[in-house]
Symmetry: C2
Subunit: 188 residues, 2 copies
DNA sequence: GTCTATAGCTAGATAGAC
DNA sequence: GTCTATCTAGCTATAGAC
């Protein structure tokens, strides 16, 4: 067997970047292949189901990223709570490259004609909310308040990414990320 | 001259709806024409510059919407300040149809290959920020605090729209809109 | 596993009848 | 002003050589 030009995880990373900058319809198979240094036909070898299989794989890869970098990190009882939260914020900062890259969920949550996407995104978002909510409950907030704080966390992240892109000012994302820990530790 | 099947403002309203649900690349001229009850060639008669002229007109229409429903409403000294803010929040609630419709800026701020779009969106967003900032200063906040409140207003709107869509739960948008007035009147 | 070549289709855009 | 018909370019997807 001939060796792969690019391994699966590197390939997925390239594909994610294309989708989140151009969206589903805006990303052609030529775009996707080119960013991976491959030709269209080679992409079909790796993903026989075509564009739909590619975007599904990309979303599933994002799901596992969230499981380790958000959910497990926030729930890791061997680390002090505040330190866990700061680590997660760092992870999110890296995911969005300090606000210079947009969110894959946002890029893929348009009307695409691929009904599966919406439910995959919904599952991921629910997992994120649940992770932050569980964390907030652990440090003493009631279920209801914890839920509101979790939602506000995601709202701040997504909203600041949009405004950062629109105004072309990454300090907005940076400042918003910085305020998130005060949602959970108001007395700091 | 033959009568128009649909007048300019109604036409623009239909076109906006297509763009904000499907994005720029996802909206084909057939989609756009069909939603207006016209054929492609008729759209070219109204917008000789094609898709780029259509999307530009759509964004300019949104700019004038913002001028009247946000900027002028917030600055209207003949109305009590709190009442102006509540009116603007109502206008925003209507614009996004209680959270069921996504934001045009968000839909069009992907990598489209149409460089004009980014700067049009940036101008609109800046106008919105400036309008809320001026309002916040008028009711007593310092320039720096007023700026932060204006940014947080837009972040909450955009973020809650994304999360509302992702989780398929319009109560999130409703609740977030409801909290915006407490940004400006914390003692309420 | 990757590639070239190509099928079949739909996109954006035009020409010209009414 | 709207339409049908059509052009070209790009799209997704496949076949088959290496």
């Amino acid at each position: 067997m001939r060796p792969q030009k690019i391994d699966d995880t590197a390939l997925l990373a390239r594909l994610i970047d294309v989708f989140r900058s151009k969206g589903y319809e805006g990303s052609s198979l030529n775009d996707l292949a080119a960013s991976a240094g491959l030709k269209k036909a080679s992409l079909y070898h790796r993903f026989p189901g075509g564009k739909e299989e590619i975007v599904t794989a990309v979303l599933e890869h994002t799901t596992t990223w969230g499981k380790t970098h958000i959910e497990e990190t926030l729930a890791d009882q061997t680390v002090p709570a505040r330190q866990r939260l700061e680590k997660v914020i760092d992870n999110i900062d890296a995911l969005y490259a300090q606000g210079t890259k947009t969110c894959l969920f946002r890029a893929l949550s348009m009307d695409t004609g691929v009904p599966t996407l919406d439910s995959l995104i919904q599952i991921d978002m629910n997992n994120w909310v649940q992770a932050f909510k569980t964390f907030a409950q652990e440090i003493g907030f009631t279920s209801e308040v914890a839920h509101q704080k979790a939602l506000q966390t995601l709202i701040n992240i997504q909203g600041s990414l949009i405004i950062t892109k629109g105004l072309n000012d990454t300090t907005i994302f940076k400042n918003t990320l910085h305020t998130i820990k005060y949602l959970y530790y108001p007395t700091l």
